[in-house]
Every structure is written in C-alpha cells, then in structure tokens.
Subunit: 362 residues, 4 copies
C-alpha cells in the first residue's frame, strides 16, 4: 500500500512525449456539454496542458474535466455553467492529450499485494481474509486516513448496531453515507427496541408495524436527530455514536422513504454533492449491505487517492453483501477495485471487529 506501489506512466515514451496538448471547448449552455467531450473514468487520468501532464483534482467517473486557468478539476456536467472550458476527445491513449493510466497498480504477477489478486473474483466460496482487512483498517487509522462507510438497513436489522458503534468509538469511521432507512431503523431500535416492529431476537411485537412511524414522529417533534440525541430520546446506536463522536453523516432521501427524518436531504443532486465532499477525502471505503448506496458512492469514488504524499495510492474499497450480485454489479459499473466479501452484514461486522481487537493487541 506504500507509495512505491504506483508505477507512473513513462512520459518519455514517444506516444506520450510527442502528444499534443488536450483540447478544450466551452460549455454551450448550463449543464450541457459540447459534443465530443471527454467522459472520465475512475482511473488515474493525465491531461496535457502547456506541455505538462497533470492529474486533475477531485477525480471520479462519468464527469467532465474542467480547466480553470492552470488548474484542472473533474466536475459533474450538471454543475457546469455556460462558458466553462471542458476537455475534449474520445481517445484514452494520449493521442488527443489525455492519457488514462490503466496499468498504474497492476504490479505484475509477483506483487505481494494480495488485495488486487483477490479482487479479481467474487465468490462465497473464497475465503475472506479478515486478518488482512483488519491490518488495513488499523493501518488507515494509524496513517490518519479517511474511511467512509456506506451502510444499508440490514446492518441495523441484524443486530450489528453494537459493533458499528464500536467501530465509531474506536476511530475507524470518518463519515457515514446512507439513506433514511438506516437512521429510522436505528432510532426505532433506540426508542422502542425493535426494527420494523421485530424484536432484537427476531420476534414480531404487538402493533409493531407502526413503531417506525412513531420513531420518526418523535424525531420530527424534537426537530433534528442531533436534538433527539441531546434530549436523551436517542440513547444508543449508530446515530447516537455518530452525533456524540462528531462523525459527519449524509443521509440521502429516496423514493422509498417513510418520513423522512429531519436532516435527510430530499434532493438527490444536493445529496450527491454532499456525499462527494466526503468521497474526495476518502482513503478507504467500506460498503455494507446496500446496493443503491454502494453503487452511488462507487460511482463517486476514484480508484485511487493522493492523500498520502500526493502519489496515487489505491483507494481501499470493500463491498460486503449477502450475494455476489451486488459486488459484481458494483464492478460492472466500473468500481473494479472493489474487494468483495460475500456474507451476512451482522457476521461481517462481528468477525472484523474480533480480528481488529486481536490485531490491535499484538
């Protein structure tokens, strides 16, 4: 995971040494790109500007590369006003001044970096290397990394709440990106001890079907999740831990929401913008039990980051789901670096915590 892992392109190779500068054209109307714009991927992408190869800031896929003076930035098309200068071209081999460096992290067959090998296949039949996962999380914490967690409601359903609280308290969680449902289930559990009316041992309760609506109503009455924590209405759980430890969270609204809770961002584009401010800081991402949010955040995540000394470093991306499908879908949508863990969310949290506790002692 160290900086030397990255094999920078050989800019002295004829193809790159003699490449032209990238071409830029003006945005013809607000949120509309010029025909023939360059569409980004999540890989290290060098743009030639005044004879120099530059990595644009804030990389992600499915965006445009914008020039502002000598600076380059990757920006969502919908955010670009008329007149901005965006990079043009389809070629990714440098011939039009843009070079996508696919081989930066491959490292050959003798690489000691197991993550990349294991990433090539996702199956319930593969062993999960919890030791390595634990080592990596501890390492990120030690280096001062920024770990974002994406969580689906199964994490709360399945009694992993306590383990998630533990990860927050131990300093492994630097931002949580999720939806309304995670917070609703967590707060229903905090107030009533149930999730969707089911007790923590899986038993249905009387009149349980309305409890999540009552939980939402309590928080709406309190004014905000933070206020409900401060007032003592919410005394434990994930949201309690995030609020009391000052960990930021972004809750995106969705068409499926009950409520929603105060603080949930109803606008999908505003929620994307809110999450993007965390993905650009990320050195690692753990995506657990959410197809929607895993793919949403996967789309925003570059395959690498430059937060450790400016050198491209693989962005650790762990995707946990009950079936191979979600992990493969994430990878089919371009997040090829995802390391898949095919298991139950509750058990994942429990076993990973166990290995971290053991790893921290040694």
């Amino acid at each position: 995971m160290a900086a030397q892992d990255y094999l920078a392109p050989d800019f002295t190779a004829p193809q790159l040494a003699h490449a032209p500068d990238a071409r830029f054209e003006a945005v013809p109307a607000d949120g509309v790109l010029p025909e023939g714009f360059f569409s980004t991927s999540n890989l290290p992408t060098y743009v030639r500007l005044n004879g120099r190869w530059l990595l644009p800031a804030r990389p992600r896929m499915d965006c445009a590369i914008v020039r502002r003076g000598d600076a380059l930035e990757v920006i969502e098309p919908r955010r670009l006003p008329k007149g901005e200068a965006v990079a043009m071209g389809l070629a990714e081999d440098g011939t039009e001044g843009i070079y996508v460096h696919t081989a930066g992290f491959l490292g050959g067959a003798h690489s000691p970096n197991e993550f990349r090998f294991m990433a090539t296949e996702v199956s319930r039949e593969r062993p999960v290397n919890y030791e390595e996962l634990a080592v990596r999380l501890i390492e990120e914490r030690t280096l001062g990394g920024y770990l974002i967690w994406v969580a689906g409601p199964a994490l709360v359903h399945s009694r992993a709440r306590g383990d998630f609280e533990w990860f927050v308290r131990q300093g492994f969680v630097h931002a949580v990106l999720a939806g309304n449902a995670v917070a609703v289930h967590d707060i229903e559990a905090a107030i009533f001890g149930t999730t969707l009316g089911m007790s923590s041992t899986g038993r249905p309760t009387d009149a349980g079907h309305g409890l999540h609506m009552r939980a939402i109503n309590h928080v709406r009455a309190a004014g905000s999740i933070e206020a409900a924590v401060r007032s003592g209405l919410i005394r434990d759980g994930i949201m309690h831990a995030l609020v009391t430890h000052g960990v930021p969270f972004v809750l995106a609204g969705s068409i499926r929401d009950d409520g929603p809770l105060p603080g949930v961002i109803p606008s999908s584009v505003e929620a994307q913008d809110g999450m993007r401010e965390h993905t650009v800081k990320a050195t690692g991402a753990i995506l657990v039990a959410s197809a929607l949010h895993a793919i949403a955040v996967g789309n925003m995540l570059p395959a690498y980051h430059t937060h450790y000394g400016g050198v491209p470093t693989p962005l650790m991306t762990i995707c946990v789901d009950q079936t191979e499908f979600v992990v493969n879908k994430l990878r089919d949508r371009g997040t090829h670096q995802a390391y898949g863990v095919v298991t139950n969310a509750q058990d994942f949290m429990h076993v990973l915590r166990f290995y971290i506790e053991r790893g921290s002692q040694s």
Copy 2:
C-alpha cells in the same frame, strides 16, 4: 375478481355495533403528529364517524387518517399542517372506533381465486401461471382499469424494450413509475444501440463507457425527453412509446443517478407525491426488476381499490424479480398481496406477451 369477492365486515356484530366514534386530535406542529396517532396499513380500514363506519379515501400504509368535515383521507404525515385533525389509537379491532378488516378477501379454502393462494409462497420452483396473468391483464384492459408499471433498468439491459413497447401500444400501460436509469439506458439504446456501452447481443463496444453520458447530454441539449422524441433524436424504445402514446411517467431522482435527465424529479418527496397520484388510481400494478421502486410503490399501494363500483376489490400486484428475495422483502414490508414471479425480466416480458397474444385471439 368480481365485486362479490369482498366480504364486508358484519357491522351488526356487538363489537362493531357498540363501538365508539373514532377519536381525533389536532396536529401539534407542521409535519408532526400527536402522540398516539393511528398508523395505517394497506388493508380496508373502517373509521367510525357520527355512528357510521366509513372507508377513508386514498388508502395506503404508514400514514395518518385525517378528518376534514365529514370526509376522511389517508395522508402522509409530512404533508399535514398544524391543526389538522388526525385519528388516534392503537387498536385495530374497532374498540377505539377504527376497524382493520383483515378477512375481506380471504374467502376460505374453496375460493376459486388462485392468485391469493399462490401469493402465499414465492419460489423459483413454483410454476408461473402465465395464462392467468394474461387473462387478468386483458380483463383489466377491458374493464377500463388503470395499470401502473414499475420498471428497473434490467428491463432495458436485457432487450425487453421491444416487448415493453408492445405492451404500451396495446393499451396495457397507463402509467410508468421508475427512475433515471431506466430512461437513460433506454435512450442510450435508442441513440447508440447500446446499454452501458454493451451491444444488444452483450458485446462491449469501443469507448462504450461514456455513451450513457453522451445520451444524457443529448437530451439535456434538447431540453426534455419529449422534445428529444419530437425532434427525432429518440426514435424507438420505451420512452418513445410512452411519449407518443401519451402515457404518463414519473421518474424519481436517486443518489445513484448520472445526469439526471431533464424531467427526472430530484426531490424524493415531490417524486413520491407525483407517484401517489397514480397509485390512488391503480387497479393493478406490475413491478419488474427493481427492488427500490417496487418497495417504494408497494408502500404507496393499498391492498385493494374501489374503482369498480365502489366496492373493495383486490389490487392485482405482480412482482417480478430474478430472486425470491425482492418479492419476499416487498411482502415483509407489508405488500402481502404481491404475486411473485421469480424469473429474468426479459423472459417474463416475452412469455407474458406471447400468452396475451394467444389469449387475445381466442
């Protein structure tokens, strides 16, 4: 499916005959319900008002029952301003003036209505009764019913576009509730012949990863999906069929969207409100290959409708997915009436069309 299927409650039974009127309390603050409010389900629910049992209008689950003069309506809590009168109580047996009629459609073991029996179990090992499905769709069309379709992007990925167009042209589609991705994939297919850069035979294409972004950009330049159809940019596919046949659609924004396309509603609550206007008209719903939207719409759908002469009639709800999980999740979230079809979306559309074509001829 005829009206006589419904067994109305016996209001002369002592428990109901002597029940009190329902109690109402004022909403204490905008979007905040009084403690102890009645939380609705999707079943026929009678409210006693001035000694008479009434069915509130616009039923759905997870809402409040609001009295406005002599009228009762089911409304989302977030839409209620301070001062509105909402029904109170936890009891569903009439003792507090509210009676949830769970047995209205059960009909006993000798019921000829196969749908309800089959609805009790969902498995890939059960035969799919396409004949019955075809008969039901033809019957709904004949009766002037209102069929809403919920679709996920797999419907477009998997070449069911042509079959969906056929259903639109034949008058089986009265509203489509979906997300940005369905329209994006469909329009990418219309313009470039690919979905996510994959050809219709499953082959990747050169520079394919940017094609969906280019398709979105074209529509943004055109100003709207409708304009892009009128201009000839979009010449076939689902969106083309909807626009040219005047079938309404609601596209809800989500955190995962690229673009989004013009016309997609970014606000999750506004999108819910837009979809609700269709679910209250629905006499049937077909939910294909979308966990997010199936559950979202399932939450809005009552288990019955009163559009055929005012008598409660089961609301035909068909949920198609590749695995049992989505169907079971939909049912776990309260949409117990869903009839599950565990198959590939493409094949479902193809075989159902085949049976309808055959059934229409006979």
Copy 3:
C-alpha cells in the same frame, strides 16, 4: 426444550377414543407396497394397534409403517421384502387408525420458545440469535445428546476448517454426514495447503488444478483416510480431527466425485442406510452449506426425537446457507422445523464458536 413442552394428543377425545385399529396389508413383492399404503411424514404419528395408540420406532418421512408382532417401525419401501405388513390409509386424523399430531409442539402464541417463532421465516434481514444457538449446543452436550453435522465443501474452502476442528475437540460433533468433496478439499488442504489449488488467502497456485487429484491419489495409496492419518500424511483438519477423536462419519458418493477417496460409499442406497443409523440417534442436526446433503438428511430426520426420557422433544435442526433458497427448499421438502441462518459458512462457524466460548465461561 424440556419434556413438558410436548402436548400429547387427547386420546380421550371422541374422534380418537372411538377410532378403529389401523389396517395392515402384506407387501405384494420385494420393494413394492400395496396400493393405498400410508406414507409417513416427519411429525409424531400414532398408530392404533389392539386399541392402543403407539408411536412407531425410527420415524422419518416418505416411508411405510411396518408391523412386526406388537412393534411398529418406519422403514424405507425399498427395504421391505414381500410379505411384510404395512399400515394402510390416507387419513391422518385417526379415522383409519393413524393420527398425525401436528400440534404437539406449537404451544400457542405465548410460548417462551423463540426457536419455533423464528423458524417461521427465513431472511438475511432477520437477526441470527447466536446466544440462543450457543446455549442450545451447550445444553445438548450437557444432556448427552447426539449432534449430527452435515457439511458442504464451502466449509473447507472458506477456512472454517480450524473452527470445525474446535467443535470436534470440544465434544459438539457426534457424527458427520457429508460427501467426497468435503474430505477431498480438507485433505488437499492438509497435504498441500490449498483447496482446489487456491491458497488459504484465496490466491491461485501454480499447477494448482491437479492438487486435489494428487491428494486423492495419496490417500488411495495409503489405503484409507484412517491409514493416511495414522501414517502422518494427514496432520490436521476435519478428517484428522474426526479420526483422532473417534467421531464416526459417513461419506456418500455422488455423480460429481473425483476419485473417490477410499471409504466413500459409492452406492446411494447403502450410503442412505449408513446415514440413517445416525439420524435415528440424533437429538440435533446442524446442516452447513450443502443443498444436496441438507435435503438428503432433512428427509431422514424426524421433527422430534424421544431420546430424552421417551417423550417427544423437538429435534433441533439448524440450516446454514448463503441464501434463503436452500433453507426454504429444505422446508418445502417437509423439514419445517429447520431454523435458518442465512450467512457465509466460515463466518457462521467463527461467530458460533465465539459465543460458545463466551457462554461456556459464564
């Protein structure tokens, strides 16, 4: 789980008190039953003989009830020679002298026994009650119960070997019923440190595809698994633990086998007979990651046993699989008592061990 849990039938009720003796007919040819034979289920089934209601010995589903003098036994049809007397009739309500007691363990809505409630639904979204599972396993060990384990090869693939060894050493495993593949993978791991040529961290190895064939060849050269353990060829793992602790195992041959290993029983009917000798002793069964063997053994298992004082007691049946499908299929095939755990086999073993270790200390 105590004996009083069982509600015996009320044999004084008129329907049972006045029931006739069961009728028996002779088997007309070896392995061919008389038309109209009684086909067993896995529920407590009482047969009236000389005016008394008796529970036949060795209960299981899909068999005949045979009378030999005053004794009754449940036997597979293929094992019955011409002339044996088998019980006749279709009725299960006592009117033909046979009474299937479906309500013996239901116990009503206020039962403190959570297992039965949880057993009614299987979902990855339900919490797994590991505390209760741990308590039950410890209890069975304390009571001198007989726990049979059914295992699929994913248990070995996924590094749960060490945990399974631990369960053997701690006295929680009294018989293992499995196939050739479990033993092959386990022995490949013991000899070469790989499973199907994949290292324990999931990496492929050079020439790995032949290693399982070489492992089999070594054992064939040694003559038997037991000999390979004694000779030091096999120094760790599941088979080593079973042999050194004297725990019996039955390995059934299948059409898919490589080898097979010596000791694997090629005949499916002989292997069934071998497994049956363990299922009739079982007080509990844990079925992990094998559809084929879980359903095979599920078919042999009664829903109850009488090993604790002769009174019918529910036979604890835990089915662990990555998806709901296998558990539901097991239940669809009649093993309704199965408690489903939807998770990865490796994580299940690890977490269950953790809870047992913690539970044993307290």
Copy 4:
C-alpha cells in the same frame, strides 16, 4: 463454429519442435497412480510419442493419459489396473512432452464468434441471445451432432415438461443425464397431475405429500420406466417422450433419492461411467437447473470435440440457472466454455422453443 476456427499449435516452433517424448510410468497398484502423474484439463492436450504430437482419445479433466501401444486415451484413475502406462509430468508447455493448447479457440479480438465473448461474463443483466442459441441448436441438428441435456427437477416443477417433450420430438435431444428426482416428478405429473403434491398451477392438493411415493411405487410394481410407459401408466411427459423416441437416458442415484425408481443407477461410479459414454459423443450440452449434475457432467465434458472431421471444435455448452452462482461455480470448476443463461428454467425452455420454431420457418 466451423473447423477453420481452430488454430492448431505451431509444432515447428523451437519449444515444441525440440521437445522430448512424453514420459510414461507404470501404475503401481490398482487405481493408484505413480507420484508425479500428469493430471488432465479439458483443453486440447498434445502428447509427444515417437516424435509425433498426438491428441489422446476421450478427453476430459481430472484424469490420467494412458498409453496402450501407439494409442493414447484419457481415463479416470480409479479405472486403471496395476501396470498400465500413464503420462508423467507437471509442465503443460511441452518441455516434458505434453503441451496444453490454451489458445486454440481464442481467435483474437476480431473473432466473429460471439459465444466466446459472451462466455466471459455471467449476469442476469446481460441479454440472452436466444436467436444465436436457436441458430446453434438447429445447426447441430442439421450437422448430425449429439446434444446431451442435463436437467434438474425445477424443469418439471415449473411446467416446462411440455416444452421438453417438444425438443425431444423435434430431434434436439440425443441423451438425457439426470437424477432420480427429475423422473419422479415427471412421472408423478403423468400419473397424478402434480409435482410434490402441488398442482400445475401451484396449488397444494389434499394428501399431496405422499403422491411422489405412490408414483414411485407404481413404477416399481411395473418393473421399469419403460414397462410403465408401455403399459399406459405413463402417458405423457419427459420420460414418456424419451422412451417412445428411443432417446437414451442415464439416471444417477443420489443420497437424496426417494425410491429410487427402477433404472436409476445407485452406484455413483457406475453412473459416471454410464454418463461418460454420452459425453465422449457430445457435440453440445445444455445444462438446465441442476447444480449437482451440471458440475458432474461439466467435469466429464472436454472443452472441444473432434466429431466434425477430426478437427477440434468448441463443444457448445449452455448452462441455465436462476442465479449466476451455479454458472460461475461450473466455470470455477474448469468448464470455462460455458455460456451462462440466468433465468427461470420454465421460461428458458419456452422462449428457446419459440425462437427455434420461428428460426426453423425462415
């Protein structure tokens, strides 16, 4: 699919031209191979004998290559008596006289052969190319190919019986390899109109749980499946079609079998030997809805055949299952050539038949 597709190795290349003859050693004991034996894969494998490169007969994976005079044959280790001469070595690059030709069918990026491209990924989100499948099946029938079908019981459960009969009648089925359950369900349907007691529309029937046992008993009384067809006991369905059209079938016993039916082969090794006689003739294989049998037959199938003029030709292998898991597992077990179709077995049969009917007319 034509012969020219195969790129034979360049035997004039120095590595191959100067390779030594392969080395052979005697089998030391019945069914035990000499240490260091060559373990086969399913790819074209050339063995140098007297300075010439030969393809052994009857290729399959996980076997030994046996020399008998100038002939070479691939044989299961368990079938080899002491003294047979087997090829030795681990190297697959010719340096020890054995060359595994991995590139014979790859054909480069411009290959018109879509099947191989599509085979590289399996997903419910990929379109199924039914036109191409239909063309291929018609082509195989025209060429006089040998198509083996592997079927699981879901094919019968889900009312695809009629379609399977159609494929038999139309000459697309040359052998069926399956287990007891397929035949039991099919015959229960023929005699009672149910499968596992469930009607063809998915409804449970009274006393249905014993019907499969009664069906088995009837056939046992008749003496054989063939006799039961001749006597009129079995009047329709898959087994009826196979018997009346003289299509051979091999039914392998398994640990999970009820009965078994007469004709089922209880011995797993005898059943393997029986199936192998069909896989060596196969020019194509269609594996539907059976994990156990798909992988078993996949292990026996070479990736190519030489039945069209002696030149290696890819062996068309289609694997149909409800989830990606079985197809991926098949490929993980070495059957890399499998083309995956992720759908419901019933719908697959129906749609494929529809396309063949349409394709045959044009």
